[in-house]
Symmetry: C2
Subunit: 338 residues, 2 copies
């Protein structure tokens, strides 16, 4: 049976600053009929990520921006409802770029999606978070680019977020001192008391720079950078000789119209290795990361939370939580029942 409607967010205008529903047409069309080699996927959960904000803009970016009129790009998990491909069976859970809509088509080429194994040991939101793309981002950024050694100090910004929370916990598994920067006492307590960070810095408090200094008495060997701006500069001023800085994001700049500038002189004077990366750069090694992350999660060595927003119609407003600090852990939108 073909379902009745496919609601879609199509980009109407590029946001300047905060995102609202007005930047999208929330339209309906008939759900797609799979052609040969395709499957129709009902979306269960959407992953909301800072990169959604990048894709809405026309800033210099690593994929083409979403075109005006196009369905908003986004990752998610869905269930196959109808298939004309041997790759997908009805009932399969799949993950990939579903877009902000009720239904999408998976195919065997450009829009191929990954079929999740049966009997998943974790929830679907976790499969988008600690055991999914954001966990994998933390894994490769920290281990491959940050190259932390036992006893070193690792600082991560947006530390209560989906990526940052995993970064700090992997740092602890590696025997490092893990310091998280987050907004507000609740998040800071969460980092230290629940996730086992050694220290947390509340960037919303007046003395956050002093907190940072106190939390990093031996300087900083790895800065896993998620936010950019003033926080990035303060961290860089405390980085050690030959330290590493995986540059995962600069979320503080995504709502601005100006270039995302920062002071380059510590890079020179401290001989920092700054490396930009996108999780897709490690595509051929996802299985390694996913297996290790799942093991750590099952062992309780990586704890995680998800912030679940109910209803596709909430997606545009919900993205702002990533910028306002409204979520803890992975932010997902529940689109339909599994």
């Amino acid at each position: 049976m073909t379902p009745a409607r496919n609601r879609q967010f199509r980009l109407k205008s590029r946001p300047q600053g905060r995102i609202s529903a007005d930047h999208f047409d929330f339209c309906q069309e008939a759900p797609p009929e799979p052609g040969e080699g395709q499957a129709r996927v009902r979306v269960l959960y959407l992953s909301l990520d800072p990169t959604n904000r990048i894709w809405m803009s026309d800033m210099d970016q690593y994929m083409p921006p979403v075109a005006i009129g196009e369905v908003m790009r986004g990752g998610g998990i869905g269930v196959v409802e109808a298939s004309r491909s041997s790759r997908y069976r009805e009932g399969d859970l799949v993950t990939g770029l579903t877009g902000w809509q009720d239904y999408c088509l998976a195919d065997e080429g450009e829009n191929a999606m990954s079929v999740l194994p049966e009997g998943l040991p974790v929830s679907l939101p976790t499969m988008l978070g600690a055991c999914g793309m954001t966990g994998i981002t933390a894994y490769f950024g920290l281990l491959d680019l940050g190259r932390p050694q036992a006893g070193e100090t690792v600082v991560v910004s947006a530390a209560a977020g989906a990526v940052g929370s995993v970064v700090g916990q992997i740092a602890k598994i590696q025997g490092c001192r893990a310091v998280g920067i987050a907004g507000g006492p609740d998040k800071c307590r969460y980092l230290v008391e629940e996730l086992g960070f050694d220290a947390a810095v509340d960037y919303k408090s007046a003395d956050w720079q002093e907190q940072l200094a106190a939390a990093t008495p031996d300087g900083i060997d790895v800065n896993f950078e998620n936010v950019g701006g003033e926080i990035m500069e303060a961290v860089m001023r405390r980085m050690n000789l030959f330290s590493r800085m995986p540059l995962c994001g600069m979320i503080s700049g995504y709502n601005q119209q100006e270039p995302m500038r920062g002071d380059f002189s510590p890079i020179l004077m401290r001989r920092i290795d700054v490396r930009g990366f996108i999780v897709m750069d490690f595509l051929d090694r996802y299985a390694e990361a996913a297996a290790q992350l799942a093991q750590w999660v099952m062992e309780g060595r990586i704890k995680h939370r998800e912030t679940i927003v109910e209803g596709l119609e909430q997606a545009p407003e919900a993205v702002n939580m990533l910028f306002d600090g409204g979520n803890v852990g992975k932010l997902v939108v529940k689109v339909s029942e599994a």
Copy 2:
């Protein structure tokens, strides 16, 4: 015989902006008498480098700043005139941190200097330039951090300077397209016609950004960065995915009082590897670089020029040439006759 006087530039105040003789006390004292394990060195040539400007300031830097009242730090070449060390013989040519003065003491510890081999195949200024510290800087920065592959495009700023001119020529030896950025048509002609760069961009012309685009039709794979600021940002906007950026200097910022900011977003979006370095990081491999550079120079594959300023008393004003573009190739001060 002990010579009559040792003229010394002692730092009096930290320059804000342009350097002048007023920032120093030009004093005289008796030349130093070598103690046990020491040698008195008469300075022949001083090396003038952008790093002199850094050392005069109290900006965050990789060695302690020169203290007020201290003899200005600087590299140079001298001849041993009196020795109480088995390491140095009278008549030996030595290189190291001589300071801005007529005479210095070499010792066997912190102020040890390197004894140059007899029968040098190149001039002493060249031993400070293409075959010395600046050549070695170019060598490791480009080859170890830039990792250029044949067919790739290498861009270097301050390309007619001591480091930049060698970077472009090593890039050519590696089979790369070498593009230099320099100020004025004379320097640009020098790069292309004498040094064999594939293209030069005159940053003093109104259309320099168009020149840069035309000179790098396939984008930029390695940016050997010497200047920072607006030029760095323009180059970074043309850098390719997974390109490399050895950060050797940001000379455009050394006379400013502000942080040396630049746009970080290309690092993220293009996954650039930005690596700050100082030639001293490669201390244990100097011999490798020096031997290779000497061979290339002897074979005529690395051409070089030196700009020689006569007289120690000229040193403070002469440093400004590095910032005004007054020199071509290595800038040295001739202090006394060999």
